[in-house]
Symmetry: D2
Subunit: 313 residues, 4 copies
Amino acid sequence: MSQFTSEQIAEIELLRSTRSSTIRPVSEGLEEVLYQPIPVLDHGFVRVIDYMGNDDAVVQAARVSYGRGTKRVSEDRGLINYLLRHWHTTPFEMAEIKLHVKLPIFVARQWIRHRMASVNEYSARYSVLDREFYIPAPEHLAAQSASNRQGRGEVLEGDEAAAVLDMLRQDAGRAYDDYAFMLNEGGEDESRKGLARELARMNLSLNFYTQWYWKADLHNFMSFLRLRADPHAQYEIRAYADVMIDLLKRWVPITHEAFMEHRFGAAQLSATAIQAVRRMIAGETLDQVSSGLTKREWGELCAVLGLPETATK
Amino acid sequence: MSQFTSEQIAEIELLRSTRSSTIRPVSEGLEEVLYQPIPVLDHGFVRVIDYMGNDDAVVQAARVSYGRGTKRVSEDRGLINYLLRHWHTTPFEMAEIKLHVKLPIFVARQWIRHRMASVNEYSARYSVLDREFYIPAPEHLAAQSASNRQGRGEVLEGDEAAAVLDMLRQDAGRAYDDYAFMLNEGGEDESRKGLARELARMNLSLNFYTQWYWKADLHNFMSFLRLRADPHAQYEIRAYADVMIDLLKRWVPITHEAFMEHRFGAAQLSATAIQAVRRMIAGETLDQVSSGLTKREWGELCAVLGLPETATK
Amino acid sequence: MSQFTSEQIAEIELLRSTRSSTIRPVSEGLEEVLYQPIPVLDHGFVRVIDYMGNDDAVVQAARVSYGRGTKRVSEDRGLINYLLRHWHTTPFEMAEIKLHVKLPIFVARQWIRHRMASVNEYSARYSVLDREFYIPAPEHLAAQSASNRQGRGEVLEGDEAAAVLDMLRQDAGRAYDDYAFMLNEGGEDESRKGLARELARMNLSLNFYTQWYWKADLHNFMSFLRLRADPHAQYEIRAYADVMIDLLKRWVPITHEAFMEHRFGAAQLSATAIQAVRRMIAGETLDQVSSGLTKREWGELCAVLGLPETATK
Amino acid sequence: MSQFTSEQIAEIELLRSTRSSTIRPVSEGLEEVLYQPIPVLDHGFVRVIDYMGNDDAVVQAARVSYGRGTKRVSEDRGLINYLLRHWHTTPFEMAEIKLHVKLPIFVARQWIRHRMASVNEYSARYSVLDREFYIPAPEHLAAQSASNRQGRGEVLEGDEAAAVLDMLRQDAGRAYDDYAFMLNEGGEDESRKGLARELARMNLSLNFYTQWYWKADLHNFMSFLRLRADPHAQYEIRAYADVMIDLLKRWVPITHEAFMEHRFGAAQLSATAIQAVRRMIAGETLDQVSSGLTKREWGELCAVLGLPETATK
């Protein structure tokens, strides 16, 4: 937690030491980590600020019950799996989680596309940003993928890696120095008025860190994770999603298990793909052409089924 | 609570007696009434099932703070008032409340129009509804308003009132009896298979009670109250909104105060109305024609200003 | 169209005969049926009132293009399929459709649960409803399913069918007569003031018809269809969804084709189901127990794969 | 239109020259400018790509009508004003507009906070951005406001202005050059693989231009304008909102007029402010203390009423 000021650490510790009594449902797993920053990337973090409900809340809402709504654990697990499998979304909207996240601006720009969430972002119109920017670790400094227009290829090495890292660091450093100069915040240079904060910020690059409070219900939290913890998501947002999957597990262990089974580890088969699978089970040997799928779809189906793309069986 | 079975009462008491320790923020006012049904109309109720956050949550999110975010109470109050006055909605999205509501279907049909909320309704496809329907109390049995196409006029009296009450009661009673007959649930009549629940329910009238779990954030909770606690709202939904305003006060007393000041008791003046007010303050005597407002707008402005509609000063 | 007054028919014909010139994209398929009511159930209908965009709009938005955005038809088809397969939802939000729908209230109550749409409903606070209620055709008068708590079983027959139909018809008829009596709209009975419309409506049962304007974007239109044209949806709402799938085909033929392939005819396999399929393709014979799936999941998988539930191969 | 390639201009002209026949409602005002870029800031623009409905659509939906729904123009105007005044939002959701916008990233970050809209943004993961960045015109290069933490003060002049403009230009230029170098797109330098696009983009600063397709309904379009055309909005987003208000006028002239009257030029008075106004109309002379308002609220009320802040009358 070296990135935090001692004042911030004290504030966090104060929050963690203030216990109250409640008759609301509690998630023991989340209480353990509440308020504590979990590091992500080089300067980022995720902190759980608050939550409402747990696995019981899903069950209770689905049953519109007067009491806790839970029956035996096995029945609750069965119900949660059934709801998720059959796309019953509203019971999962009945639990909420609120995070404090520090993240690079280019990650924030992807994240904000999830509209069914509430956000309060630190305002650079109002306040001055810190001198913190993201520089990829060497193992994440990747070349453009040759096959996938929006993906990464091999890791850059040697001189090229060094040159790129140097350039990113230099440019961000200069951008910040000039930002601070234009602001003239302390009024060090009495001959200058200082540029308005809302204008000066435009000089910062997209790897600078911002932070926000972000709140979503359990349904939308899982929608976020399904897309952003996916291997096709950009590594930098995936790093956040991975931490959030751990939080999901702490918060609602039964729902987490169902999520891994019916969302994260699941696959959708198109009408034509279903026919192909039926024929393969019946013993037929298929290839892309005979499957009736496009090349890309065939490749995706083979990946799901763990088959080589050339031919089956 | 005579409308509850002893089993339901036991479930509610069990929930209320189960205390946990939490390091989350707590709303003492809501803890006091958590899970307890507050009666509305003749068979309805509102129960708080869960909540997240309190006045501090609004302040903390607005400041994107590391700690509690609150400063002195006067500063927090000032900030909350400022946010509400200037339509900053996101900090108020950071607190949530979840209710269990029992309400007549025609009220549910108005309520559901508020889309920014989560709902799980008791399913009459899946279960059998109870024999409970709404009959207005005599003082709420009103005639059609002559002046307002969607409003109520005087209270019905004497024979007409008696006839109407009798008719409502008879028709609902028969609708339920026939619903139960068609269902043939217990299989009493072995010669009949029993109509599917999803079909039989169509015989019930709109005054039958349904129930749901309903969850909204503080911003949308207040939007609901602004419209539904308004004197122009139908009395039956207003009865629910009135109870919910009391809950707002228990939950977030500072926000409640700001809500009464800047939403509920506030008025919007159009560009032309502002000009009219300026002229009146400057000492001019206006009437509808000279104000430049339409008859209806003039009437609304006079109501806001506590003036007779004929002429000012 | 016997259910329409000659005045309504004239209005519709007037709309259809008024041609304008536009430089916007046009869907020829929808222009052909614009404004014309398509009958559903015994008194309902769906009418397309307006639309924005066509298949090109999806492609153009996905490419953020300066012009039409389309390339060769085969490339456009490939892109639309890719977008739908990989859950890219925003390009499908770029086209809109607006319907005028007449539907029983119990269907309206299911329909309104789709929150990402705009609705203006005919107000029974403001106006008097017509004497129109839904009575199932004999072939849709089904018994409660024994196996599925929210499904239908066999069709009712003989005396039971006759009794049920009679009861539904009688109760709805009486409900309406009493509604009209309580309203005393024309003031026929001078001794009565007439009950307020907003109260009298509560006497009507859930099979009475209401109507609304409903607007959704193409993405949410398809979400609606995926759930409501599904065999598990209640027949009465499915009747509307079936008509709307035809409209989808007229409007955006390429997207319709992709929808049938990647949504409507598709199936989701859980992580465990994928393993089971892999083993079956490898030649293994599985049953429910060895599959690792629950009984219900195993049944669902067998249905997708066209296999008997007992054992495979 | 010097910022467009001749290919883009040809595409736009092709779209404008393709006329179709439609029986949908048409907005003549918007047809005139459809597809044509309207310049904003130094490199940005707004182009209308498509629309659905016009003033009639609002009226028609509010009346749930079979035909056009319009009566006399004066009645339609009265209805639209009534709906807007009384916060009836759904009829305004029945018309849609779709724009193609080119805008600096820091403006895009404010814009995207309006969640009730659909967006497809040009992807810098997938494609390479152009060398275009925003540099404020000298008259918009403002100092930080001394009184308002999130506002602008006087315009910078002389050496300071020159230094700031130079710095912004230099830093953005270098950021782009280094972005291009790291990408090594053409493969000019054979010894380098080229950094992945999704990483290289992080070197660009927030004044670089991005572009997107953006679609909103008329209700949310007006909500955007109310906040972003407000004098307290940052100048750069206001420049876009001003152009969009002109488009509103072309599209739905009656709604535009009502918007200026009941939203843009309107003011909200708090409960206490209403009391203060009542007393002033009754002839009382008030100051901040006797008004019961805070200093800030009193200042805001005086601004609305066109009064000096010291004392009234």
